[in-house]
C-alpha cells in the first residue's frame, strides 16, 4: 500500500511549551484518517505542520513520499479546509474555487470544467456567481471543501470544519463528507474533538492527548479495545474503575470485586483500570444473570428521547453513567431511588 503522509518523530515546541511531542504515524493512500482529542492536544498543530504553516522543531514530515520540512505551503501537494473556512469574502463562489487553478495558470476552459465538476460534486451547481455572504453555513462549508479539493491534492486536510455548524447540519455534513471521500478517493486527514464524527467517518483514528498520540487504530479497535483510560473515557465516556488484578478479578477499593475476562499477560496484583461503557450497563430494582452487580443510588436522570441517561452513585462514592434505550423500558428511575446496576464480564474491559 502506498503511503501518502508520514510523520517521523515529529516534535513542535512553542517557546517552552511542547505542542506536539514525538508523534509518528503513516497514512495510506485513500484513507480517511482522523486526529481526535480534546482542545489543546496538538491535533491542529500536527495538521498545520503537514500543511506547512508550522515547521517541526524536530522530526520529519513526508507527503507523497517526499520530505516536506523545508517546502513552503504554496509548494506543497496538500490543501486544507480551515476551521473558520477562510473563504475569500471579496470573491464569488466561482473565483473562490478557481483561485488555486488560476495561480497554476490552467487554461480557462479547463478551469471552468473543473469548477463545474466540483460544484456538481457538492450539489451547488448554478452557485458560481453567488457571493460568500449570501451562502448558508452548510453551503460555505461545501465551497471551502471543493476550493481545496479542486486542486487535486495528495492529501486533503480538514481542521474541524464542522465546528461552527448546528447539530443537525453537522450530522448532514458528516454524511456528505463521507460521500465526497468515497467519490473522489483522495486521502483525508481530519482533525476533530468530536468522537462521534471521528468514529462515523474514519478508516483509522489517532487519539491524541497533550501532544502525544495515545492510540492509533480503526474505530472499532479504539472503541472496543481502548489501551488507555483516557481513550476509553474520551471515546464513549467509559466508566472507569481502578483496582488490582488477580486471576480474572479486579479488586476495587470500597466497591468489591469486578469479574473480568482472563488476561494472561497481566501479572497478579498489578494495578489496572476497568472500563465499562454506559450503554453496556443494566439498571433495575433487581438484576439477575450478570457477572457484576452492585448497589447504587440514582443521583440524576436525563430523559433524552431515544435514550435515558442516569448518573448513579456507587458504594465507593464513584458516580457512574448508565445509558438505557428508551424503547421497551417499563419505568424511569427518579433521583434518590435505590437501584442495582450490573454488567457481564465481557463488557468489563481491562485497560492496562
Amino acid at each position: 500500500m502506498k503511503i501518502d503522509v508520514e510523520l517521523k518523530n515529529v516534535t513542535k515546541k512553542f517557546g517552552d511549551t511542547v505542542a506536539v511531542d514525538n508523534v509518528s504515524f503513516k497514512v495510506e493512500k485513500g484513507e480517511f484518517f482522523s486526529l481526535l482529542g480534546p482542545s489543546g492536544c496538538g491535533k491542529t498543530t500536527t495538521l498545520r505542520m503537514i500543511a506547512g504553516f508550522e515547521k517541526p522543531t524536530e522530526g520529519e514530515v513526508y507527503v507523497g513520499e517526499e520530505l516536506m520540512v523545508d517546502v513552503p505551503p504554496f509548494k506543497r501537494p496538500t490543501n486544507i479546509v480551515f476551521q473558520n473556512l477562510a473563504l475569500f469574502p471579496h470573491l464569488n463562489v466561482y473565483d473562490n474555487i478557481s483561485f488555486g487553478l488560476k495561480i497554476k495558470k490552467l487554461p480557462k476552459g479547463e478551469i471552468q470544467k473543473k469548477v463545474e465538476e466540483m460544484l456538481n460534486l457538492v450539489r451547488l451547481s448554478g452557485y458560481e456567481k453567488r457571493k460568500i455572504k449570501q451562502l448558508s453555513g452548510g453551503e460555505q462549508q461545501r465551497v471551502a471543501i471543493v476550493r481545496a479539493l479542486v486542486n487535486e491534492p495528495t492529501v486533503l486536510l480538514l481542521d474541524e470544519p464542522l465546528g461552527p455548524l448546528d447539530l443537525k447540519l453537522r450530522e448532514e455534513m458528516v454524511v456528505e463528507l463521507k460521500r465526497i471521500h468515497r467519490e473522489v478517493g483522495t486521502t483525508f486527514i481530519y482533525v476533530t474533538h468530536d468522537q462521534g464524527e471521528a468514529l462515523t467517518m474514519s478508516d483509522r483514528i489517532a487519539v491524541m492527548k497533550k501532544g502525544r498520540t495515545l492510540q492509533i487504530g480503526t474505530p472499532t479497535e479504539i472503541y472496543e479495545r481502548p489501551k488507555f483510560g483516557f481513550v476509553a473515557d474520551f471515546i464513549g465516556r467509559s466508566n472507569l474503575f481502578e483496582g488490582s488484578y488477580a486471576d480474572s478479578v479486579v479488586e476495587v477499593d470500597g466497591l468489591g470485586r469486578i469479574i473480568v475476562e482472563p488476561e494472561p499477560h497481566v501479572s497478579d496484583k498489578r494495578s489496572v483500570l476497568v472500563g465499562v461503557k454506559p450503554e453496556k450497563i443494566s439498571i433495575g430494582r433487581t438484576l439477575k444473570g450478570l457477572d457484576n452487580i452492585f448497589d447504587g443510588e440514582v443521583k440524576e436522570t436525563y430523559y433524552q428521547g431515544q435514550v435515558t441517561t442516569y448518573r448513579v452513585l456507587l458504594e465507593n462514592d464513584s458516580l457512574i453513567t448508565v445509558v438505557v434505550l428508551s424503547s421497551g423500558v417499563k419505568e424511569i428511575f427518579r433521583s434518590g431511588e435505590k437501584v442495582k446496576v450490573g454488567w457481564s464480564k465481557e463488557d468489563a474491559k481491562l485497560i492496562i
Binding site: A51, K75, T78
Partner: protein
C-alpha cells in the same frame, strides 16, 4: 360604521406623522449646528456669487456673469488653474498613499507588540504647526537649503538646484504632510483582514506577492478609498502650501480664490469660484461614498 373606521385611520395616521416629527425634532441640535456654522455663511456666499461688485460695493444684480467669467476671464486662466489643481490633488493623493501604504503594511504585519507605539510615532508631525513644517522643508530643499549645500560640498552640482518655489515643491510638501494621516485608515483596513485568508491563499499555491495582489490589496480597498477621501477633497482647495512653497507655477485654485477676495476685491467672483470648487468636491465625495459605503468611511475615521 365605515366612516368611523376611516376617521379612526386618519386620526391614527396623523398621530403617526406627529410621532415621526418628534423623531425629526431630535435632530435639531445637529441641524442647528450645521445650519448656523456652515449653511449660513455658505448661503451668504452663494447669494453673493450672483451679485456684482464695483468699487468695493456690492450690487444685487442677479447675474450669471461671475460663473461665465471663470471660463472666459484671462484667456481661460481660471479653468487651467482648476484643472491643474485637480491634477495636483490627484498626484498628492497617489503620492501620499504610496508613502503611507508600506508604512501601514509594515506596522500591521511586523509591528508586533509595538504596533500602537509605532502608530503614535507616525502621528507626531501633528505636534508641529503646518506652517513650521513647510518652512522646515524649505530649510532642507530650498535654494540655500541643506540638500543643495551637501550636494555642492560633495561636488555633485556646481550651482544650487531650484527645488523650492514651484508646483513640484507644493506637491512634495503636501505629500509628506498628508502621508502620516493616511497610515491610520489603511492600517485599520489591513488589521481587519483575517490572517487565515493569507494562509488559505498560500495553501492554494499563491506566493506572498500573489497573496498581496489577490487578497491583501483588494481587501484593503476601503482603507484606500477613505485615504483618497481624506486627501483629495481638502487638497482641491489647498491654499497655504501654494503660497508658502509654490511660487508662480505652484498656484492652485485656492490661491486664485484668495486673490479674488483680497487683491481683486471681487467677492462675487471669488464666491463663484468657491462654489464651483465646492460642487466638484461634493460630486467627488458622493462618488467615493457610494464606492466605499458610508459605514466603512465613518468607521475608519
Amino acid at each position: 360604521m365605515k366612516d368611523d373606521t376611516t376617521i379612526r385611520e386618519r386620526v391614527l395616521s396623523i398621530f403617526r406623522k406627529m410621532k415621526k416629527l418628534g423623531y425629526y425634532w431630535r435632530l435639531f441640535p445637529a441641524v442647528f449646528w450645521l445650519g448656523f456654522f456652515l449653511v449660513l455663511p455658505l448661503s451668504v456666499m452663494f447669494i453673493y456669487s450672483f451679485w456684482t461688485m464695483f468699487r468695493f460695493e456690492l450690487f444685487p444684480t442677479w447675474t450669471l456673469q461671475n460663473y461665465l467669467d471663470i471660463f472666459v476671464r484671462a484667456e481661460g486662466l481660471y479653468l487651467r488653474l482648476l484643472s491643474k489643481s485637480i491634477g495636483m490633488s490627484i498626484a498628492v493623493t497617489l503620492g501620499a498613499i504610496a508613502l503611507a501604504y508600506p508604512a501601514a503594511y509594515y506596522i500591521s504585519t511586523r509591528g508586533g507588540k509595538y504596533k500602537y507605539v509605532l502608530l503614535a510615532l507616525i502621528m507626531t508631525p501633528y505636534m508641529v504647526s503646518w506652517v513650521i513644517l513647510i518652512f522646515g522643508w524649505r530649510m532642507v530643499i530650498g535654494y540655500t537649503g541643506l540638500l543643495n549645500a551637501v550636494l555642492m560640498e560633495a561636488g555633485l552640482i556646481s550651482e544650487p538646484m531650484r527645488l523650492w518655489g514651484n508646483w513640484m515643491a507644493v506637491i512634495f510638501v503636501l505629500i509628506v504632510s498628508w502621508a502620516p494621516w493616511l497610515v491610520l485608515p489603511i492600517f485599520v483596513s489591513l488589521e481587519k483582514i483575517d490572517r487565515t485568508l493569507l494562509e488559505a491563499g498560500a495553501d492554494l499555491g499563491a506566493r506572498p506577492s500573489e497573496n498581496f495582489r489577490k487578497i491583501t490589496l483588494p481587501l484593503s480597498m476601503p482603507g484606500l478609498l477613505v485615504a483618497t477621501f481624506f486627501v483629495l477633497i481638502p487638497t482641491f482647495g489647498e491654499f497655504v502650501a501654494p503660497v508658502l512653497a509654490g511660487g508662480a507655477s505652484g498656484a492652485m485654485i485656492g490661491t486664485a480664490i484668495e486673490a479674488a477676495f483680497k487683491r481683486m476685491h471681487n467677492w462675487p467672483f471669488g464666491s463663484a469660484l468657491s462654489f464651483l470648487l465646492l460642487t466638484i468636491a461634493l460630486i467627488t465625495s458622493f462618488v467615493l461614498i457610494r464606492k466605499t459605503g458610508l459605514r466603512t468611511l465613518m468607521e475608519s475615521l
